[in-house]
């Protein structure tokens, strides 16, 4: 637990973690960013908060609407 550790123990823990992370594999932002963008584009048509939903289709838009549960 962090709360029970001395400053030295916390630093050692951090050091061990950093040594591992330096070796991680990484990809270019131009590639990964493009994939983030493509994911959004593929899902955008289905995103109700993004494209809006007609009043009668969204249960929150019309209070007292017909709901089949």
């Amino acid at each position: 637990m962090a709360q029970d550790m001395t400053e030295k123990e916390l630093l050692k823990m951090e050091l061990d973690q950093l040594k591992k992370e330096v070796k991680n594999e990484r990809q270019m932002v131009s590639k990964t960013g493009k994939e983030l963008k493509e994911y959004i584009e593929s899902m955008a048509g289905e995103d109700p908060l993004l494209k809006g939903v007609p009043e009668d289709k969204n249960p929150f838009k019309e209070k007292g609407g017909c709901i089949i549960s």
């Binding site: 637990m1 962090a2 709360q3 029970d4 550790m5 400053e7 030295k8 916390l10 630093l11 050692k12 823990m13 951090e14 050091l15 973690q17 950093l18 040594k19 591992k20 992370e21 330096v22 991680n24 990484r26 990809q27 270019m28 932002v29 131009s30 590639k31 990964t32 960013g33 493009k34 994939e35 983030l36 963008k37 994911y39 959004i40 584009e41 899902m43 955008a44 289905e46 995103d47 109700p48 908060l49 993004l50 939903v53 969204n58 249960p59 929150f60 838009k61 209070k63 709901i67 549960s69």
Partner: protein, 357 residues
């Protein structure tokens, strides 16, 4: 004797100092390695993406009934029910369509900072200053006595800040002020795995979308966001770019990135495969901390609740704010988008929850 102790004291300080400088130098190396892959900014990748138009989002429901600050909420998978918890110890389950309260229980502690709905919809989990995470089955009996069926699952040595069921009702993941996260078996209460690495209180966690595999992200008072392997207990990646406590972390819907909200008044996006921060969502006019963040279904919008009572809606790709929502009369403390993305719910220190669409 005195001089020997003094010498040992000096050696101790040298070790601490050399550890610190080794850490600084490794952090520098890590930054260098990350910088090599930082060939573009995210908004440049998104240059030709169509800008978003005006958004009209309004409060569609207000859930009133808590007697004090709302601290946490979670949606049921049925996209309709919500569990919320408050400073006065009350945990309430609501039908957000009708605003009716379906269940209520009073915890034996105040500041119930965490609550979660079980995937089956048949139970809820919650905890806070009691240092525990407890599970309550939900029944539909007329005179339900929820407190009688309570099962204590997790035990930490400091407050519970966050909890989440994994993909079944059988396991719960917790985060605590004791600096650790932990995975528990609900039935036996057994500790299955613990996660050590944060240097201070852990304030939030989020599980990766099930398709991405067994990882989760946590954020803490040490300004770090850490990504963990649930099976091994190892931290895979960590990010330290915020200037203050990280109050909220949330995975991007594809699982390849996550967003964070911090007391430094910014939200940030971290790309897991590029292993770096790729966007900052901030404005000079926003000076209060962000308490809670969540993505719209596609990941294009990031909703963030702030301590200045507002909710800002950000264009994740372009980095710009597309809308600011007013309504709450005190800090926004919690915010989640519904499971099918049709609405989002915010909870506030003004004692209410609001559903926006």
């Amino acid at each position: 004797m005195h001089s020997r102790m003094a010498t040992e004291g000096l050696r101790e300080n040298e070790t601490l100092a050399s550890l610190k400088s080794e850490a600084e130098s490794l952090k520098g190396k890590l930054e260098e390695e990350r910088a090599k892959l930082h060939d573009v900014e995210l908004h440049q990748v998104a240059e030709r993406v169509e800008a978003l138009g005006q958004f009209v989002m309004k409060t569609r429901r207000t859930l009133k009934g808590h007697g004090n600050k709302v601290l946490c909420m979670d949606w049921c998978k049925d996209k309709r029910r919500i569990v919320s918890s408050s400073q006065d110890g009350k945990v309430i389950v609501w039908d957000s369509f009708t605003t009716n309260k379906e269940h209520a229980v009073t915890m034996p502690c105040t500041w119930v900072m965490a609550c979660a709905y079980a995937p089956s919809g048949c139970a809820i989990a919650c905890g806070g200053l009691d240092n525990k995470c407890s599970v309550y089955p939900l029944t539909f009996e007329k005179n339900e006595n929820m407190a009688a069926k309570k099962k204590s699952v997790a035990m930490h040595t400091n407050y519970l800040s966050a909890c989440s069921f994994t993909n079944s009702d059988m396991q719960i993941l917790t985060a605590s002020g004791d600096g650790t996260c932990a995975l528990w078996d609900v039935e036996s209460g057994q500790l299955l795995q613990s996660f050590h690495g944060h240097g201070a209180d852990v304030l939030c966690l989020d599980l990766a979308p099930s398709e991405t595999g067994n990882t989760f992200v946590s954020g803490g008072c040490d300004k770090k966001a850490m990504v963990w392997d649930m099976r091994s207990g190892q931290c895979i990646q960590s990010f330290e770019t915020h200037d203050s406590d990280i109050n909220s972390v949330r995975y991007y819907p594809s699982g390849d990135a996550f967003a964070s909200g911090s007391d430094d008044a910014t939200c940030r996006l971290y790309d897991l495969r590029a292993d770096r921060e790729v966007a900052i969502y901030s404005k000079e006019s926003i000076i209060f901390g962000a308490s809670s963040v969540d993505f719209s279904l596609s990941g294009r919008l990031l909703f963030a609740g702030y301590n200045d009572y507002t909710i800002n809606v950000w264009d994740v790709l372009k980095g710009s704010r597309v809308s600011i929502l007013f309504g709450h009369e005190n800090r926004v403390s919690t915010l989640r988008v519904s499971p099918d993305g049709t609405a989002f719910c915010s909870g506030s220190w003004d004692h209410t929850l609001r559903i926006w669409a």
